[in-house]
Symmetry: C2
Amino acid sequence: MGTTTAERPSGFDAFTAMCPSRRLLDTIGDKWVSLAIVALGIRGPLRYSELASQIEGVSQKMLTQSLRKMERDGLLIRTVTPSVPVRTDYELTPLGLTLLPVIAHLKEWAEEHMADVDAARTAYDARA
Amino acid sequence: MGTTTAERPSGFDAFTAMCPSRRLLDTIGDKWVSLAIVALGIRGPLRYSELASQIEGVSQKMLTQSLRKMERDGLLIRTVTPSVPVRTDYELTPLGLTLLPVIAHLKEWAEEHMADVDAARTAYDARA
DNA sequence: CTGAATCCCCACGGATACTG
DNA sequence: CAGTATCCGTGGGGATTCAG
């Protein structure tokens, strides 16, 4: 399928592995990435240690890894101040800022419908 | 619904592990779940084999697993027709349908900004 | 303080074989 | 046709240690 026929009524082409939507989900589907975006979006520029303390439960390894990925994707700017000790600030780029409404939209759906999901789960588990 | 009453200035409380937004991302962050939602949203009810052929690259194990999860979450209805051979149809629930605009919103951002991400990546990798 | 490097576990997910 | 069961490799991700 997919490879030959070009009849996609609604304009969704997400079935091809490398479509943009797929890659976006790969990015914000990352737990720490989305949390970092929200944190930086709310509080503005933050130091590494500030991010670490705000995003509870994140390991140093994963936080650094996520921040590097975001920097590479142009979502944030990393500024190193070569003082002693070193100070590193992270700040969302204009591009990174445009993700806030997207995440807000997700949040909106979640707050509106997640109770239904919970109810469905309870009912489902009760049947089983 | 947040965990407690509003304590986060901008209304984001995603830092608590079990917040609704987090759980939504856990759901649609699943590659096959989102693809199945899109497929069912476009084509309407589909049989198992139809889903399998439309969502290219999915293994039978993962497809079944994802569909079960979605059924449990009340996102789709699974109808088994005990004929020979068996026939199983999957159809989005009204709740599942409400996810389509959300995914569409993701798609919109992706198509609008993913080129910037690619450019940023190229620049970043070139510097390294 | 910020981060790189290492060890290590185990959950995710593919391949295969079997069943109603 | 639509699964379930099993094996198994790979990689995500936590804990720890070292470095600038």
